[in-house]
Amino acid sequence: MYRTLIKDLYMEARIFNVRAIVAALVAIVLISLLLARLFQLQITEHDHFDTLSNNNRVRLMSSEPNRGLIYDRHGMVMAENRPTFSLDIIPEEVDALDTTLSQLGNLISLSESDIKGFNKSIKRRKPFQSITLRSNLSEKEVAILAVNRYRFPGVDFKTKLTRYYPMGSSAVHVLGYVGRIDEDELQRVDSSQYNGSSPIGKIGIESYYEKELRGQRGYQKVEVNVQGRVLRVLDETPPIPGKDLVLSIDAGLQATAEYAMGDNSGAMVAIEPETGEVLAMVSMPIYDPNLFVHGISQKAYTALQSGGQRPQFNRALSGQYPPGSIMKPFIGLGGLDASVIGVHDEVFCEGYFMLPNEERQYRDWKRTGHLDTTMKKALAESCDVYFYKMSYLMGIDRISSFLDQFGFGKKMGIDTTSEQTGLLPSREWKQKTKNTIWYPGETLITGIGQGYMLATPLQMASATATLSMRGLRKPPYLLKAMRDHQTGEMIDSQPPEHKQISIKSNRHWSNIINGMKEVVHGRHGTARLIGEDLTYTMAGKTGTAQVYGIAQGEVYDEESLAKKLRDHALFTAFAPIKKPKIAATIIIENGGSGGRVAAPIVKQVIDHYIHKNYSKNAR
């Protein structure tokens, strides 16, 4: 006890030295521990952290490719890209956002939805990403903002190329339009090529050839700091612009047809029979596709929908109409081929036809009848009874299979969207869909293009073209050629495979075509009005498709019927007869008479085409 109170300096120093050595050892152990940890991070797991470090700083930024242009067959621009200005804001660089917005609102028009949309995207964006406040600024607005720009740090213009359709509403149903991609589309497309603000073809050629028109996105590898601000570009892959398309459409012809159709609703398709190239494809009414490029406003959309004319409905491809008497040349050809009636045989028409053992009268449009009628006369005057008899003798099975060769009842496979099949009735079809047997009376009305039969204007025009080429069937298509921007090479498109419809005697083609020539050029032809001053030969066929069923014994009075219930007026034709250059079919909804209303419009269009392209050798 006493001893411990005395300080033993020697022992104290010894204790201390032992402890200092232990401490030094501990220090070395601790430092080794740190080194082991650092070895683990820097050597063992280096690759992992190196990747993380690069992920931190390297971002991929994409750049949109320029969309391919669309030309008509003569090189006229139908769809192009124009620079548009948008007003973009980087919120990080703006001091007082609210005041800036209200001051900008004094300079240019800012709608409530602009500001709402802006506030919405602020929450969803990455730091230092600019947000569009207003797009599609007018030149005046750009000028005003340019002068005042110094007042607004963080506010800038952005130029980007956006789709523009210089012809406005003309050919809208051919081209379709592009618009901002929507959620569903974003799910379907290749996510490396699109983002939420990419434009995408919505309908028509723009949609069908989206892949070709779009091109490939470019990428920039950039280094960013923690706020996402781009500091430098590390690597760059430039975008590959989309391919230019040359369409078979003749823009001048298209506009002529649209003009000729005036205020009527309806459709018209013109085809070059030799190739199947679609020269014009009109659906009326038309609308301006430019409305959709920046997203259509609610007001404009409501205006588009009002009036009940459904301008967005592509009647040329989606409109399925009863073809009416337009079918008669085809039924006639089938009948001659089946030898049910000889080409010079006469059928007596007393104004109606009756099936054996049946009371019902199947009426001719001419109550007094056509009397003795040959094939030529039957076509020229559109005798119903002749074709009632012919189809009765043929039977539905032979009619169906014959018409099938022209492409009725199925898609023609044209290279655009919205095509419908139409309807070619048959015994099997009726059994399957209506679950009843086929009645002989239904055969008769099929023979004059009524009843269940439905066809699109494209089908009718294509069938007419096939007829004009005496059975050489060239399926219709729109894309003539494509130009690759990188090689500058123009590549012709591969036309769809053609077929030859074979019948027993090729003379029957002439027999039918002669009948159709009588329609236009004959003294009693239903379209004789247009034949008077023709400078070339034309074969045609009028049609009047019933929208409204006429009861037995009742007389159809055009005047007293509301326009909505009036018959559709149809006309199909090709010219010149010897070497057909154009085949066209028109349907005027509720137009009334095919000969008086539809035929003159077709004449105008074919006139334009023949005179412009073949004025010297056409006569």
Partner: protein, 373 residues
């Protein structure tokens, strides 16, 4: 004998250092380290030369304080120890009452011209006090003396933990504890002590502040909260790991220059260094620190009385704790506690304190009465 070696050295510069009562190896190591630090800081803070000048000013001040402290004979430190300690405790108490709030904690005293952190002063005052207490006691200490020494350590520790400043209070506890250790704490007791601390962990947890608990939890699993408190550690590990063996090169660290690494000129400056200089640079830097610690322990063992010996030993080991806690924290080995990388991190107070400590070491070493044979 060793001292003789330096004193008989012919080099004029070393003589100059000796005439300033500075220990040449320690001084050179400190100069080298601070030069290193300036280089890293230049890179860490986007080549901000203003910052370098401010740090240089602080360094000059700190070296000045070191030289000043080296002139004061250690007997004076021993004399003043109780008074400095008492003043420190009073100041700490008044910080709790009147202190300025900075970053959610009361740490500063504002005297109008100078803002002063009394906890810094306590980093020196606490080991001085405990060393003073043991200086005239027979060693190894009796159990009673041990308890008194413990109380002397616990008082400032608790006061600082209350601010709250977990990092500093741990450093002060460590500094005080090291004195006890060097005084001859029995190994058995040392082990028992360790066990008690382990057992006390849940109790400590209970008294911890939310942000302190969060730090501990984040340390245990930083990926849990990658954008919040785990962000520091994740980015720091990425910086260190991506440095690899040779590093990305001075001024080329992407983690630091692109702002991914937070607090990169202060607490996380080691990550900047590791990113740019790699594992090889890290070995060199740590070797320099180890040299300083070992040199400190050598000085301590050559001290001629208990007070000097205990104080010098404690200061050297505390320096090691600084380093270990900081590097451990930055590399994800320890929880994030606000301990700077000694003599490298940007910041004034702790640097002055550290250099004052080294000044005391040098005073202890240079005021020995020479016993020539």
């Amino acid at each position: 004998m060793r001292a003789d070696y330096f004193e008989s050295n012919d080099s004029g510069r070393l003589k100059l250092l000796q005439s300033l009562r500075l220990d040449p190896p320690l001084t050179l190591a400190l100069l080298l380290l601070t030069a290193f630090g300036l280089g890293i800081l230049y890179s860490a803070d986007s080549q901000n030369i203003d910052l370098i000048f401010r740090q240089l000013t602080r360094l000059s001040l700190a070296f000045g304080v070191m030289v000043l402290m080296a002139q004061i004979p250690p007997q004076n430190f021993r004399l003043w120890a109780p008074w400095i300690f008492l003043l420190g405790v009073i100041l700490l108490a008044s910080v709790l009452v009147f202190g300025d709030v900075g970053k959610g904690a009361k740490r500063w005293l504002d005297f109008g011209i100078v803002r002063f952190q009394p906890s810094e002063m306590m980093k020196l005052a606490a080991p001085m006090m405990v060393a003073w207490f043991f200086a005239d006691k027979p060693l190894p200490p009796s159990f009673k003396h041990l308890l008194i020494a413990l109380i002397l350590v616990i008082i400032p520790t608790m006061l600082i933990a209350k601010q709250p400043d977990l990092g500093t209070s741990l450093l002060i506890a460590a500094a005080g504890f090291f004195v006890i250790y060097f005084a001859g704490l029995k190994w058995k007791l040392l082990v028992g002590f360790g066990m008690i601390i382990t057992a006390l962990t849940p109790v400590v947890w209970h008294y911890m502040h939310d942000y302190q608990r969060r730090r501990v939890l984040t340390f245990l699993n930083p990926e849990n909260d990658p954008l919040g408190s785990g962000y520091h550690i994740i980015q720091s590990k990425i910086a260190i790991g991506s440095g690899g063996l040779y590093g990305k090169g001075w001024l080329n660290g992407t983690q630091s220059h692109l702002d991914f690494l937070p607090e990169r000129s202060t607490d996380f400056i080691f990550a900047v260094f590791a990113e740019e200089f790699g594992f090889i640079g890290v070995i060199v830097l740590l070797a320099l620190y180890v040299f300083i610690v070992i040199r400190g322990l050598v000085i301590a063992s050559q001290a001629q009385d208990s007070f000097g010996r205990l104080l010098a030993g404690s200061l050297s080991l505390t320096f090691l704790v600084y380093l270990f806690v900081n590097v451990g924290m930055v590399s994800g080995l320890l929880p994030v506690v606000g301990v700077p990388l000694p003599l490298v991190s940007y910041g004034g107070t702790s640097m002055v304190t550290l250099m004052a400590g080294f000044g005391m070491l040098m005073s202890i070493h240079s005021h020995r009465r020479l016993l020539r044979q």
